[in-house]
Symmetry: C2
Subunit: 468 residues, 2 copies
Amino acid sequence: MTHSSAVALPKDLPENFVGELQSFLGDRFTQSESVLDLHGRDESYFPPTPPQAVVFPQNADEVQRIVRACASSGIPIVPFGAGSSLEGHVLAIHGGISLDLTEMHRIVEVRPDDLDVTVQAGVTRLQLEKALAEHGLFFPVDPGADATLGGMIATGASGTTTVRYGTMRENVLCLEVVLANGDIMRTGTRAKKSSSGYDLTRLMIGSEGTLGVITEATLKVHGIPEGISAAVCSFPELAQAVQTAVELIQWGTPVARVELLDEVQIDAVNRHSGLDQPVQPTLFFEFHGTEAGVEEHARTAAGIASRHGGQNFRSATAAGERHTLWQARHEAYFADLALRPGARVMSTDVCVPISRLVECITETKAEIATASFPVPIVGHVGDGNFHLLLVIDPNSEAELEEAKALNRSLVERALSMGGTSTGEHGIGIGKQVWMEREHGAALDAMRAIKLALDPQSILNPGKILPPA
Amino acid sequence: MTHSSAVALPKDLPENFVGELQSFLGDRFTQSESVLDLHGRDESYFPPTPPQAVVFPQNADEVQRIVRACASSGIPIVPFGAGSSLEGHVLAIHGGISLDLTEMHRIVEVRPDDLDVTVQAGVTRLQLEKALAEHGLFFPVDPGADATLGGMIATGASGTTTVRYGTMRENVLCLEVVLANGDIMRTGTRAKKSSSGYDLTRLMIGSEGTLGVITEATLKVHGIPEGISAAVCSFPELAQAVQTAVELIQWGTPVARVELLDEVQIDAVNRHSGLDQPVQPTLFFEFHGTEAGVEEHARTAAGIASRHGGQNFRSATAAGERHTLWQARHEAYFADLALRPGARVMSTDVCVPISRLVECITETKAEIATASFPVPIVGHVGDGNFHLLLVIDPNSEAELEEAKALNRSLVERALSMGGTSTGEHGIGIGKQVWMEREHGAALDAMRAIKLALDPQSILNPGKILPPA
């Protein structure tokens, strides 16, 4: 187990601090090696970096007491949800405690009349999906992993349906947050819109636990559409598939999902999920609306695809068939892992203005052609966002360096095209190196805000903001 | 001309400060009484409070020089657009300069392929509408007034189409902002989404010039829909009209506009705009989509309206007829002014969770029944937002007090229902009294952010945040 080499090993937690937390948390304060180990990992390629203790609060008042204790002793707090982050967000690189929110997993209230739901931060995406389905409702943001809602908010997550329903930014109404000083803050109201004061809700979304601990959230939900249909279409060339997605957006077709899988990824999902798609660049579509509406949208998509060489545009309206398709898409990551036993996947995450997407993907595809390891491409192409899934041998320093170099080159390309280093995975420790280039003077403003809200830097220190 | 009585008269501007601004602005620095007077007013009911000078920069570099000069001398800066704000945002209550952005009115670039447009802050809504129409595009946020885009961003504006397209928060991609220290900051990128760092774009939206001077913005735009249709429907009872709008939303019908006008407002627009609608509570609808789609949506709306006593649901697909209807809606404010020669309109602006809207409007309607002056109601009811337009005699202290009391009562009602004091007009100086109650601990966080980004409090001082 390796602590990040740049950082000194933290001192032991003070006895009075430990005693105080134990006094009200009992065995929900732990320093067991196995629990520490579990909280020192996420889905990133960074070396495990466990915290010095893990706490499992059950409500905001307990979070408040924990934060106050940490503030008194200057102990770092790393909020922890499902551990599915991809950029090292939850690694305790400055030591301190991991604040595990998974015991705060209550769905507080579903309000079908307001199309909103209030959840504690530890509720997971699939748990929420199940609870909402009973009311004929769904929450659209779908990052793939069964992340906690708190984690999705902290990361500024999005996913396959963002092209239609937006990211977490567009789907959170209000939050309960414990600030670094222990204040329990409520941001916003359940009104659908407000111009009252600074938008602290959006400030917290994507702040990766560095500005406050999110304990509860009220989310916008939607009625499950009357009509849902999926479709799949293969293309001889990657650029043709991307161009189809781009035009679909430019035409304003309200597609609910349009996902690119290149031929490498299709080959992997064919093997892993038992599909038999042609091993070609492929688009997966989904359409939501009325029965008549989704048929019309699918016809529009088929027309655009056909003009760009699309072959075998095939609709899947039956729920079973749709499920198979999207299950395969969601398992892309695991399909890729299965390509190389013992491998790890490093995922890139650039997002560019959609007019540059064909160029960005085409140049990138040429660059990865000579990679020493498999590099499937998946993309939320309707948003201009795509991922290289670099399937590397975790024991090979050479492959790790090669993967990092490919990522660097890709981020440089995206930034030069007016894009961003991360569409949905966040900065964590993995993308700090581009913060200055992407944000310029705005980075100073971010630092000023961090200092204002967390003057001791106890909230997930060392994340997002590069060392000054 | 009256300065706000609570604030000491500002000292004269220092000579060296004036000299410096004149050196590079020439006659775009002015202290002419008539220009000062024009910049001391907005559409609110507050007494005019002119600045000590007005500057007309033409680019961000000039704004930067102005801000640096103000920072050196501790002079307040009040950004000024069209002067259409409703809560005193642009009144120079602490003296200083009015920074008029209307000479920064260049449409920098329209990018149909990316469905975005970059504008300088002084571009107005109608100017933008015209420029976009040449490309078959439109920008959806429509607050009614021909405001500047910079003002709409600073206010967190929304309007009639928000139910479908969102507020300014959902329609701004990135900003150029001059900070209090003179730094020119770019927030965000033109990528459709990003998880890179704190969301400073959203922090600036609705900050009313208190955190930075917005100089340029890149906005999302949409293709003008293939099909647009409008419809109008009268109801015997106000609650029936509201319930129809509520159910339309709850059913997930993608209505583009659904506006309530009560019988008092209908009477006013009939007189002013030559409509001959039955003098009853009325909904105006608009539907956007494909030809087939809009017909389907209109049928859904007609069905819901009819179940709630709606009468004479009448579609208007011809552009001329639609225009007449929406022109009348947009002129509601002027129609109300015409009800009483010499009157002024004070507008309320609460927004509540939609499940409480019928109750909120019904209770409010009962309360205004005994008002001493006309009180038409208009509402963006699909969002839970509505306005009382209190048509008062500006020379009557009694009417002003009565109007304020009605507003107080309404805001209390909305807050107790989980709503907000302002859906789209902002806080300015008019709604500060509710900031503590609406935001609690979040207000302290707002103050900390203000202090961090504008430690001297030179940016629109005295707005949004109540005196501590």
